[in-house]
């Protein structure tokens, strides 16, 4: 009952968003905001963030805050590059998961066995990940073909597929720039043209994670460790073991996200190419209220703004209008709920964005680069009040501490 209402709400919000984007596109003539190319780029930008976020979901559902996602992702980029160079891209994906899992294991060892503060351990892992990847790159990639002390390019990428009939048809419709029809066609087109099988794997991993965490015995026990570990222990759940499993899987997921960056987003390894995506993933998970559906929506939002900055500046300019309308709509909704203060702040921000849109013709390039981070801040500031994290998330647990 509760779930069905939620699904309806999500459906309505998605539909409203598509309608708004479509209307803005017609109004401004910035057809780039949802062209096939933009959506493809958005999907590619989303996948690494989404994998980091799903990694965070695994870990935090078991009660361990993993801000080491960034470091585990970096380890994943190196693992993907190394294993792809010698054994091909699919072994590369496995290598990314392996290196990420090593980072996760380190975090589990520190937080679960030794009871180190989760944030301290996470920060350490981020630093270790960055340092280790630099060292490993210099040690192993310098003498390789396409390699250097900071990079390894020219890697083989996972297979891409295009579904012939649908892809062409969707592209034809999308180019017509019709209201709504073309927008939907763009979506279909982006998913049927030159789609990397790695993207399909990411989608499969997200669905599998949601299924395991919420529908299996293993998942129930894992989540109980994040809600009330003492209760779980009193019922014979080995809390340490489940926390270990969760954090190692978390690292592997983040590692795969790093692998996606190296193999699909850029077809090559560069040190530091994650550029904060692990943290954005964490933000996406929080935005998604520690649920898989919301987390995916958050990752898509961040992925979209991330990709848009690389596109033409008219699209970024049109984005101002979308953000403005969105904020004003949210403000009205809050006003109806009786949240006057929040409504006023949001409304003022929304109006500011609208004024900005109306008084300018373009957005400075430097600002475009900041879009994803500003979006992160705005979204979290607006969503933070209704979030519910696992009750024992981030708390140190010692066996037998309360019974």
């Amino acid at each position: 009952m509760r779930a069905r209402q939620l699904n309806h709400l999500w459906l309505l919000i998605s539909l409203g968003a598509i309608l708004m984007v479509s209307a803005v596109r017609i109004l401004t003539g910035a057809h780039g905001i949802d062209s096939i190319g933009t959506i493809r780029a958005a999907i590619i930008a989303t996948c690494p963030i989404l994998m980091a976020a799903i990694g965070g979901l695994w870990s935090e559902r078991a009660g361990v805050v993993n801000i080491g996602l960034e470091g585990q992702m970096i380890l994943g980029t190196w693992g993907a590059a190394y294993f792809t160079y010698y054994y091909g891209p699919w072994v590369g994906v496995f290598g990314a998961a392996l290196l990420g899992a090593v980072g996760g294991l380190l975090h589990a060892l520190a937080t679960v066995t030794f009871g180190v503060d989760h944030i301290v351990s996470g920060v350490a892992i981020n630093i270790i990940g960055l340092g280790a990847s630099r060292f490993l790159a210099e040690a192993y990639f310098t003498d390789l073909e396409g390699g250097g002390i900071k990079q390894l390019t020219g890697l083989e990428t996972p297979t891409r597929v295009t579904i012939p009939g649908i892809s062409d048809g969707a592209e034809y419709l999308a180019d017509k720039h019709w209201f709504l029809v073309s927008d939907l066609a763009s979506l279909v087109g982006a998913m049927t043209t030159d789609l990397s099988l790695f993207t399909v794997l990411v989608a499969a991993l997200v669905i599998a994670s949601a299924w395991i965490l919420w529908r299996s015995t293993f998942g129930l026990r894992l989540r109980s460790c994040g809600e009330n570990p003492a209760a779980a222990e009193s019922l014979g759940v080995n809390v340490y073991r489940y926390k270990y499993a969760a954090v190692v899987v978390s690292g592997a997921m983040a590692g795969i996200g790093g692998g996606f960056l190296a193999l699909v987003s850029s077809s090559g390894f560069t040190t530091g190419q994650t550029n904060g995506r692990g943290f954005i993933g964490l933000a996406a998970m929080i935005f998604g209220n520690w649920r898989p559906g919301g987390t995916t929506a958050g990752a898509l939002l961040f992925g979209y703004t991330d990709s848009l900055q690389l596109r033409d500046s008219t699209s970024v300019h049109a984005l101002l209008l979308i953000v403005g309308i969105g904020l004003v709509a949210l403000a009205l909704w809050r006003l109806r709920q009786g949240k006057t203060t929040t409504a006023i702040v949001m409304g003022a921000l929304g109006v500011a964005f609208l004024v900005w849109f109306l008084t300018t013709d373009s957005v400075p390039k430097e600002f475009a680069g900041m879009t994803p981070y500003i979006a992160t801040l705005l979204v979290l500031a607006l969503a933070a009040q209704r979030l519910r994290m696992p009750a024992a998330d981030g708390l140190r647990y010692r066996r037998g501490q309360s019974i």
Binding site: L220, R221, S224, N228, A231, A232, L235, G236, V237
Partner: protein, 507 residues
């Protein structure tokens, strides 16, 4: 059933358990007959909980034997005890709030019926058989205390327990909820289950138990049948001396208003009202008691008066001054003392010495400070005074608060809050979890202060305490004051009915 009722379910013989520096249990002998409700009573610290943890496999006894259904057993962990058909319901519920009833029940026992439809129907069946009336898909956080307790019992039954240990199950319940718990227990007994019921509430024990065992200072000191012993005899057996009572003497109420609330409404972040249009006054020399089932807004009301929560609408006056907009520090400096509901979370720094704890809440006033600096000597000597006057049993004022027993921690807090001539004392469950001796002492301090003209707001779940100490009792239900009672004439049953809204239809 009658055949098994005569055999023994559990036999504890010569049980002893020592912790570094303490003997928790020694020479404990208990015989629990199958198919009965067996009550284990004793003061706090008498060793009841340790004994039950031994029976449930959480701790291992140093000496003695445990016999279950005629077989001698040793338990390495609760899992072994569960395998022998023993289940335990802890005093502090072991439930994950954000999971459903079903998820909480099947957790750890997924092998029995999985976690899907089969498990759901098994849970529903148990719930119906014993009249629990639980919805498997409800979130535990949406349930009341009584229902949560039923979830805990359901958990134990789901695992096939025949012997159920209930650790102070009525501590968190109002009389009506206690009645329905007892109805559940009677059904369980009729179905052949054995129940071990731990309590220190004698009326309840006499009501439900078939056999009673009394513990004092770590050992069993007597056994009794409820029909051949009086409450008074039991009490003397339990404490080894005369029971104290919270009776107040003649009224000291003046007509000078010390605290007044006018239509105070408090809301949470989502705009839900926690307290709605609360209006009352407390005079100098008056104790106003607030009765209510936990979670009905009394905690929020207290936090509002001390300034930890904001008032949505309404006014709060201290004497003649409007203090609605004051911060917590200003309120404390104006003479409000506060005994918080949870002394370990809100009242003390457990790992700090007593003299530092003395400074808490008085960090702007002498003798704790001199100018911008902490006055160690002043705070220290004042702590010595509190230790002496309030009989805080501690080796020294350098001892950390954690090392003190609950009663002594509470006496330290009472002493601290009474220092600096307060005009208003907010006492939230002032004797919760303290032993009978400390309880009597704390009652004495409150009575003395009242005689000296202190206004007291008393919140308590112990209805005898409320009736004994208060000059007036207000009942809070769902954030509203729903009735005023005169403690001279009210009974716990009347209060319980008002607290649960049972008399709403007639009122």
């Amino acid at each position: 059933m009658s055949a098994t009722a005569t055999s023994d379910a559990v036999l504890l013989q010569g049980i002893a358990k020592r912790f570094p520096g303490v003997i928790a249990n020694h020479d404990v002998d208990i015989t629990i007959r199958s198919g009965t409700v067996h009550a284990l009573i004793g003061e706090n610290g008498a060793g009841k909980s340790t004994l039950m943890k031994i029976l449930y496999g959480v701790q291992k006894p140093d000496e003695g034997t445990i016999t279950v259904d005629g077989q001698t057993v040793t338990f390495g962990s609760p899992t072994d005890a569960i395998a022998r058909g023993i289940g335990m319901v802890f005093q502090h519920f072991m439930l994950a709030d954000n999971l459903t009833v079903l998820e909480n029940v099947v957790l750890g026992a997924e092998k029995l019926h999985g976690i899907g439809e089969k498990a759901r129907s098994a849970v529903e069946q148990i719930s119906t058989t014993y009249g629990f009336g639980l919805d498997p898909d409800a979130l535990v956080e949406d349930l009341g205390v009584g229902d949560r307790q039923r979830v805990e019992i359901l958990k134990v039954l789901y695992r096939g327990a025949r012997i159920i240990i209930l650790d102070e199950p009525t501590a968190v319940l109002v009389p009506q909820e206690v009645e329905s718990l007892f109805d559940n227990l009677r059904v369980l007994k009729a179905e052949g289950h054995t129940i071990l019921f731990i309590s220190h509430k004698l009326d309840e024990v006499l009501d439900i138990a078939d056999d009673i065992t009394v513990m004092r200072r770590g050992t069993t000191v007597g056994e009794a049948k409820p029909d051949s012993i009086t409450k008074h005899e039991l009490a003397e057996l339990m404490v080894g001396s005369e029971l104290p009572s919270p009776e107040t003497e003649e009224s000291t109420v003046t007509d000078e208003v010390q605290l007044s609330l006018e239509n105070v409404t408090v809301a949470d972040a989502r705009g839900r009202r926690l307290c709605a249009e609360v209006t009352f006054t407390i005079h100098r020399g008056e104790v106003l008691g607030i009765a209510g089932v936990e979670g009905n807004g009394q905690a929020e009301l207290v936090e509002t008066i001390i300034g930890m929560r904001k008032v949505a609408t309404g006014r709060i006056r201290l004497g003649s001054e409007d203090m609605t907009a004051w911060g917590t520090r200003a309120r404390r400096e104006a003479g409000i003392g506060y005994i918080p509901e949870d002394r370990q979370r809100h009242g003390l720094l457990l790992d700090s010495p007593l003299w530092e704890n003395r400074i808490l809440g008085h960090q702007t006033q002498p003798p704790s400070v001199k100018g911008p600096w902490i006055d160690r000597a002043g705070a220290g000597s004042d702590t010595e005074r509190i230790v002496k006057e309030y009989d805080v049993r501690t080796p020294s004022i350098e001892t950390v608060a954690r090392a003190l027993s609950g009663g002594n921690q509470q006496k330290l807090i009472v002493g601290r809050e009474m220092s600096g001539q307060p005009v208003l004392l907010i006492a939230s469950h002032p004797t919760r979890g303290v032993d009978v001796g400390a309880q009597a002492a704390i009652w004495g301090y409150i009575k003395d202060a009242r005689r000296d003209g202190l206004a007291v707001l008393l919140i308590s779940a112990d209805l005898d305490e409320l009736i004994g100490l208060s000059d007036r009792i207000e009942v809070i239900l769902r954030g509203r004051l729903v009735g005023e009672f005169d403690p001279q004439s009210v009974t716990p049953q009347d209060l319980g009915a008002a607290m649960t809204g049972a008399n709403e239809a007639t009122a």
